[in-house]
């Protein structure tokens, strides 16, 4: 009763099956990792090419390609998860059910072996997940950073050259655009008071879309300072966030009031997050 007798349990076939299963699992993940590495290494120059040739302001062709590659990696992850569920965990459950009780002298040794097998398999799977994270970040960073500063400078120069060249559509009087606008706005004709609608160029409209990324590029050194601090210093994050939003407001002053609310929310979210290690 309760398996408390000193009977010995000896099952060399089971040990051999465990060894083979472990070996197969490791080999299977090795193969998946090799394929993933090959695919990502070959994809990096292709991603860069697509990114550089993509004339779309939102770089959507690049995004499509990146999404396709993420999908491939995700398929590998799902495949590994399925095999782990069916061939590792299911196998462990079946074997554990056949073994003598854990509290018996005979069963304890085999349960310990089975547990070691489980931990080994999970640890190997964790390494696989780390490689997925690494390869994903390689793909995400493959295209490098867009030179937003030059684009912004070009738009400012373009605005300076056109700001005095508009005439009122009603009376033909000259209109000077008082400041750079990134979205359509009403401009009053100083002669006939007609409200003209000024629509900025597509390039100028894109500045609004890229303003945050540009501000982040300008303050990336402050973010790095925060990320390198151990334990992570919330004051450094606040310093980065304030500078980033100040830069953002400098680029798009019209959005300062809205951005301030966003700043406070991000600060609040960060102080309530648990990632301070």
């Amino acid at each position: 009763m309760f398996g408390l007798s000193d009977e010995q349990y000896y099952n060399p076939e089971l040990l051999e099956t465990i060894r083979q299963t472990r070996e197969r699992w490791f080999y299977f993940l090795d193969k998946l990792e090799t394929r993933m590495h090959e695919m990502c290494t070959a994809a990096v120059p292709e991603i860069q090419e697509v990114f550089n040739q993509d004339t779309d302001p939102y770089k959507r062709a690049h995004s499509h390609m990146l999404m396709g590659l993420h999908g491939q990696i995700n398929q590998m992850r799902q495949k590994a998860n399925k095999v782990m569920e069916e061939n590792i965990f299911h196998f462990i459950d079946c074997v554990a059910a056949e073994l003598p009780d854990f509290i018996s002298l005979a069963g304890r040794d085999y349960h310990a072996k089975l547990n070691t097998f489980r931990i080994d398999c999970i640890n190997r799977h964790n390494i696989f997940e780390e490689k997925i994270a690494h390869n994903t970040s390689v793909l995400n960073n493959a295209a490098g950073k867009q030179d937003l500063e030059t684009t912004y400078g070009e738009q400012l120069a373009a605005f300076e050259s056109i700001k005095d060249k508009f005439v009122c559509r009603q009376c033909g009087g000259n209109i000077t655009i008082p400041q750079i606008f990134f979205i359509a706005t009403y401009i009053t004709c100083p002669f006939c008071q007609t409200q003209n609608t000024f629509t900025p160029s597509t390039g100028a409209q894109m500045v609004l879309h890229q303003a945050r990324s540009l501000a982040e590029q300008r303050t990336v050194h402050l973010l790095r300072l925060y990320e390198e601090s151990k334990p992570k210093d919330p004051h450094l994050y606040k310093q980065y966030l304030r500078s980033m939003f100040d830069e953002w407001n400098k680029i798009v002053p019209d959005m300062a009031a809205e951005n301030e609310k966003f700043y406070l929310r991000m600060l609040h979210d960060h102080s309530n997050s648990i990632n301070h290690y």
């Binding site: 090799t34 394929r35 090959e38 695919m39 070959a42 994809a43 292709e46 090419e49 697509v50 040739q53 993509d54 779309d56 302001p57 939102y58 959507r60 062709a61 690049h62 499509h64 390609m65 396709g68 590659l69 056109i162 508009f166 005439v167 009122c168 559509r169 009603q170 009376c171 209109i175 606008f181 979205i183 359509a184 706005t185 009403y186 401009i187 009053t188 004709c189 006939c192 008071q193 007609t194 409200q195 003209n196 609608t197 000024f198 629509t199 900025p200 160029s201 597509t202 390039g203 100028a204 019209d254 959005m255």
Partner: protein, 82 residues
């Protein structure tokens, strides 16, 4: 990496690349347009749109340019309601 394996990866990437480039963008292509100035004339009396207690109605004949009420935005404000 075997030759076949390498070829397969490259073929896959080439296909993916072509698909990514040829895929139609959601919302269509972005048209590059220059900055422009426009004005909306009143369809009733032909007057230019002038500010008189707001912009949603014609300052001269009262024709309603829009029926919706404006709320505060970046450049458009509640005061623009006639």
């Amino acid at each position: 990496m075997g030759d076949n394996e390498e070829k397969r990866t490259l073929t896959y990437l080439q296909r993916l690349k072509q698909k990514a480039i040829n895929q139609e963008h959601y919302g269509g292509q972005i048209k590059q347009e220059e900055a422009k100035m426009e004005v909306r004339d009143c369809p009733e009396c032909g007057a230019g749109r002038a500010f008189r207690q707001g912009l949603t109605a014609c300052a001269y004949c009262g024709f309603k340019f829009m029926n919706s009420r404006l709320t505060d935005g970046v450049h458009i404000k509640k005061e623009n309601n006639s």
